[in-house]
């Protein structure tokens, strides 16, 4: 990935260093004597962030909305538990989980990414249902009763792994977004026809990106599978996780590297407050926040704050291509 312009290079360098520092600090938490409550909070923050960045890498950058990221994470969780129970080493098991989710994404990618965004969105929506139905039917997946991880791992392991995945995914989005390919993808989001005209193979770019995004989601789910250790299909493949995967980046700022970080922090905070005040209304409130952000902030809270403090995004100053043409 070739990166253009010095200013971007500086941004990437400083951004990467900041992400690495945060990741290291968060990963060190189990040995710093913080309470288990804080640790759990940070773990879930990282979990939602990793999932959100996975979604962001595809949907945030291309504008093709995926409703399947929860299901892709679920595939990763099932794959890792099955692999570990077959006595495979952890690294291989995680790799298998990422590959399994990547392969599942190909079903959607190959069938629908040639088409318009709506077809893709439908295809992801149906995958969510299809996977749940299949997992409940397939004997090796434990049926409706689910499966249990036989070996018990120390809690610091999923903690460190999850923070590494979240940090790595954020880093990937930061660097990719400013790479030459990343800029092309952003151009494609704004005007696919024009992007094709300058020689971008839109379908291939989208399939590769969706596959990578799915692999990250699978990895995230796998780490969470190690953390949760028992998996029930109705929980693992509930639509809720797919909602979180898109709500986190959309609330924070889809298509940016920092937006999902802010989104994850806001979501974890909201979740804690609602668990005390109104556990029944959790989903409703997430929906309302999402709706308000989309209607009134357009591209999320982080870019809105950026505009407020005059940290201008260059992209914002160029009129939309469609408008000029008209």
């Amino acid at each position: 990935m070739k990166v253009e312009r010095g200013r971007d290079l500086a941004k990437i360098t400083w951004g990467s260093l900041a992400i690495l520092a945060c990741t290291a600090a968060m990963a060190a938490l189990p040995w710093l004597g913080v309470t288990s409550y804080v640790r759990t909070l940070v773990y879930y923050g990282a979990y939602f962030l990793a999932l959100g960045q996975a979604w962001n890498l595809m949907s945030g950058l291309t504008g093709y909305v995926s409703f399947a990221h929860g299901a892709l994470a679920g595939i990763g969780a099932y794959a890792v538990v099955l692999a570990l129970n077959a006595d495979l080493p952890m690294v291989i098991s995680l790799l298998i989980a990422a590959i399994a989710a990547g392969l599942a994404s190909l079903i959607i990618g190959v069938t629908s990414l040639r088409l318009k965004g709506t077809s893709f969105t439908f295809a992801t929506l149906f995958l969510q249902e299809l996977v749940l139905l299949l997992v409940r039917k397939l004997p090796f997946a434990g049926g409706p009763g689910g499966i249990v991880l036989e070996e018990i791992f120390p809690l610091w392991l999923p903690h460190v792994l999850m923070i590494a995945v979240a940090g790595g995914a954020t880093l990937l989005v930061l660097v990719f977004r400013r790479s030459r390919t990343g800029l092309r993808v952003l151009a494609m989001r704004d005007d696919e026809a024009a992007a094709s005209a300058i020689g971008i193979d839109a379908t291939r770019v989208k399939i590769v990106l969706f596959c990578a995004s799915a692999a990250i989601a699978g990895l995230t789910g796998a780490v969470h599978g190690v953390f949760a250790s028992s998996l029930f299909p109705n929980e693992v493949f509930s639509i809720d996780l797919s909602i979180i995967a898109l709500a986190v980046p959309l609330i924070g700022g889809a298509g940016t590297a920092l937006g999902p970080v802010l989104g994850a922090v806001i979501y974890v905070g909201l979740r804690e407050i609602l668990q005390v005040l109104a556990p029944n209304l959790h989903l409703t409130i997430v929906g309302v926040v999402l709706l308000l952000v989309i209607l009134f902030m357009r591209d999320g809270i982080a870019p809105a704050l950026g505009r407020l403090f005059r940290l201008k995004d260059r992209r914002g100053q160029v009129p939309a291509i469609a408008e000029v043409r008209a």
Binding site: Q317, V318, P319, E323, V324, A326
Partner: protein, 238 residues
């Protein structure tokens, strides 16, 4: 003379691009005004502001002494502005007759409206195609269909956006004759990027370049204008 359309100091900015820079014009009843200029001169932007696709950034637009500056496109259509599109946009899945019917103001009952649609199609020579799908027409027929659709509004003003683009020589002369005949029904603004092609049928013309009017007046004045010759250097040298 009664004014049909008045545009006063219209500007349009898209982000950093100043597409139309203070254009004013007045159109009288029964007049055919040519609007010329090279690609990117701001003709279509001006045109779309008159049709109501988007409002001007500043300035005023009046139709028969009524301020329509902020009115949406459909209301201007009902007030008497009919238009065609540079790239034809028929309702492809509908029949030719339905295309015209969609533009007839509802009211007198479907039977009468259908008869009216057939009258209009007859006037533009498309009656034999009335029950065909609009998507199956040739380009020349589509242009006529768009004119028919505009006529169905009983317009005071007809806006024709590059109606000659893409037509063969014989289709061009056919359509020009047809457009001259339309003057009896409405005042017309005719957009073309090529001055020579249609200046002859115009009563008056305006030439734009880089968002501003560089010449206006009778066809003869336009032909002699040095600015126009410069803007069209090479094109009108012959």
């Amino acid at each position: 003379m009664s004014g049909i359309l008045t545009v006063v100091d219209a500007h349009k900015r898209f982000g950093g691009i100043h597409a139309v820079r203070g254009v004013s014009l007045a159109l009288n009843s029964g007049e055919l005004l040519g609007l010329f200029g090279p690609n990117g001169a701001g003709k279509t932007t001006l045109f779309n502001m008159i049709a109501g696709l988007y409002p001007p950034t500043s300035g005023r637009i009046e139709l028969a002494s009524r301020d329509v500056t902020r009115e949406p496109a459909f209301r201007r259509a009902r007030a008497g502005i009919g238009r065609t599109f540079q790239v034809c946009r028929p309702f492809r899945g509908l029949t030719v007759a339905e295309n015209v019917l969609a533009a007839i103001p509802p009211g007198s009952g479907v039977g009468d409206d259908r008869a009216r649609a057939r009258e209009i199609l007859d006037a533009v020579g498309l009656l034999p195609k009335a029950e065909d799908a609009a998507g199956s027409l040739t380009l020349g027929m589509l242009k006529r269909l768009e004119v028919a659709r505009a006529l169905a509004l009983e317009p005071k003003l007809l806006l024709l956006d590059e109606p000659l683009a893409g037509l063969t020589a014989s289709e061009t002369s056919d359509l020009l004759g047809f457009i001259q005949g339309l003057k009896a029904r409405a005042s017309i603004i005719l957009v073309d990027h090529n001055v020579r092609q249609s200046l002859g049928v115009c009563d008056r013309a305006i030439v734009m370049d880089a968002g501003a009017v560089i010449a206006s007046g009778s066809p003869d004045t336009i032909r002699r204008d040095p600015g126009v010759r410069r803007a069209y250097l090479g094109e009108s040298a012959a």
